[in-house]
Assembly symmetry: C2
Homo-oligomer: 336 residues x 2
């Protein structure tokens, strides 16, 4: 650890305020003070990064946000909701788009640290040890939005992905579907990969339906992977009656594949997505989706992060779990 | 204008390197040098922001980017292309989403300045005087991507919006359309508002077609405005045979309005957009669009900004104008 501004003050025999006045280059400073402080800085080898840092010990009103992929419609949807509340509270958001790359994530986290952002929101999940160590040691609050925090030391604002996938699957079963295909994400993603898959499996199990393994496939949440998986499904002798995709973008990919092959949705096959992205209402037929409360998720992420920033006493006990909701649109129908 | 590090050096009668050694708090600095420099700083009222600035004279490898609206599909499409090249050149992008708000734009520009980003890319157009003054006085290179720079002092990488709109309109005329509706943007936006409108008007004029004023409408480039304008069109006694929207998002809004009212596209009415956003291939029917070369636009924006950053001798003569291209998809057809 290098010297702090306090050390400089002590060494120079002056107050911290005086040191900071010198560092800030204020106008009316006695030559004596200037020399004392500069001598102390010299003797302590007080480093430029410390000087830069002391220059902005105050709040920066900047929140850094790590997003996995800006072309993902859920990301852009939730980002615009976060932006709105952040703005209302006087924060500026700086977005680091990591394009699913952990090296980039680490770089952005370090940039945010150097900038002394007031807080960080992470919307990406799948961390290596270096990133986990950063979270552990970070000087500023970090909040996980729409994903599970890697440890209980950090707050998550999210839905219960397991329960939401369970409810979506159960809803399909109760509407008469038994041949339910599932397009999942990366199982190493606890939140949106593993938990959504587990929810699907458990609902099937509780209703004593054995999933047809030809109907259970995994992609990367993106549109082309939904298209590719649907293409595989439509080449089978027998089709599922519904495809439940673990992201809206995969659902749109599945929809496009079906439409382009002349398969009618929902008449021949229903499709439902997960997330509540704006894209569900852009395409035709519009897409039924197990929705996260996007507006609330964005708002609460900023509200809680703001608490963590301004109130060091603020404590929490577990995640902030928001309600999920199946929104039925044109892409799905009951079987009876 | 405040004093520069050069002024300080001159006043102190020492080299710029010596001043920067003092500012960087280096260890072995003679008391004499220290006093000279500090006296010059005092006398010149050299400000803290200048000190902070000099402290990181080295490259930060950060590029700040001002985007108008992340939910705009053209923005996210081009951003992901910019991201790719930036990343390959070792830059990290920090995105400031201004949500069409000039106060925010100014804040982000100041944040980027404080952070000493290596360069700034601006994708938003419609500047007030404070923003123009910032551009004028900025310490780092600023490049305008997909929009016209406000002065020739700055470089633009863009298409010729006027010519592109002219060509799109002429293409429609040559395919037998005469009742050509135009959904424009904000005419205060020179690039995408005024120039696209002018291109449309000029093509109509050259082909001696008088635009039906009921068919010429203005929105805000966003999907809901395309939907609203189309709704007005479909309530007329007589319809145009094609709608040319000045953004792909407005074209998608127009498409959805038509489909939801049971109007067949392109059988009853054709729709074409402008931009080359990924959304044109997501919706069905897919959307014909006068496309900007998105990949090239992103790549060249970074390549030229990189030149401006690393090579102070780099000069340019006018804008970098890239080719546009009409990509025909399912939403439009010829009239003969």
């Amino acid at each position: 650890m290098g010297a702090s501004i306090k050390d400089v003050a002590q060494r120079a025999g002056v107050s911290v305020t005086s040191v900071s006045r010198v560092l800030n280059g204020e106008k009316y400073i006695s030559k004596e003070l200037l020399e004392k402080v500069n001598r102390a800085i010299e003797e302590l080898n007080y480093s430029p990064s410390h000087i830069a840092r002391s220059l902005k010990a105050q709040k920066t009103n900047i929140i850094g946000i790590i997003v996995p992929d800006l072309t993902n419609h859920f990301c852009s949807t939730i980002l615009s909701s976060i932006e709105e509340t952040a703005s209302a509270k006087g924060y500026n958001l700086l977005v680091g788009n990591i394009a699913e790359n952990m090296e980039k994530e680490l770089k952005y986290l370090h940039i945010f640290q150097t900038m002394r952002v007031d807080g960080i929101i992470v919307m990406h999940q799948k961390f290596d040890e270096r990133i986990l160590a950063f979270f552990e040691n970070a000087a500023m609050p970090i909040l996980f939005s729409s994903i599970k925090a890697p440890s209980s030391a950090h707050l998550s604002v999210m839905v219960d992905d397991y329960q939401a996938a369970f409810d979506a699957t159960e809803h399909l079963i109760r509407s008469g579907h038994t041949k339910i295909a599932f397009f999942g994400g990366d199982l190493q993603d606890i939140t949106s990969g593993l938990n959504r898959y587990r929810g699907y499996l458990e609902a099937m199990k509780q209703h004593r339906i054995v999933p047809d393994e030809r109907f259970v496939k995994f992609g990367d949440y993106k549109l082309p992977s939904g298209r590719r998986l649907m293409d595989e499904i439509l080449q089978l002798d027998e089709w599922p009656t519904v495809v439940f995709a673990a992201s809206d973008d995969m659902a749109v990919g599945a929809l496009n594949c079906a439409l382009d092959r002349g398969v009618r949705v929902p008449e021949e096959i229903s499709i439902i997505g997960f997330d509540g992205s704006a894209i569900t209402e852009v395409v035709r037929p519009s897409i039924t989706s197990m929705e996260q409360p996007v507006e609330e998720l964005g708002r609460k992420s900023i509200e809680y992060l703001h608490q963590l920033i301004v109130n060091p006493e603020f404590t929490f006990d577990g995640d902030i779990v928001l309600g999920h909701r199946l929104v039925e649109r044109e892409s799905s129908r009951a079987r009876r």
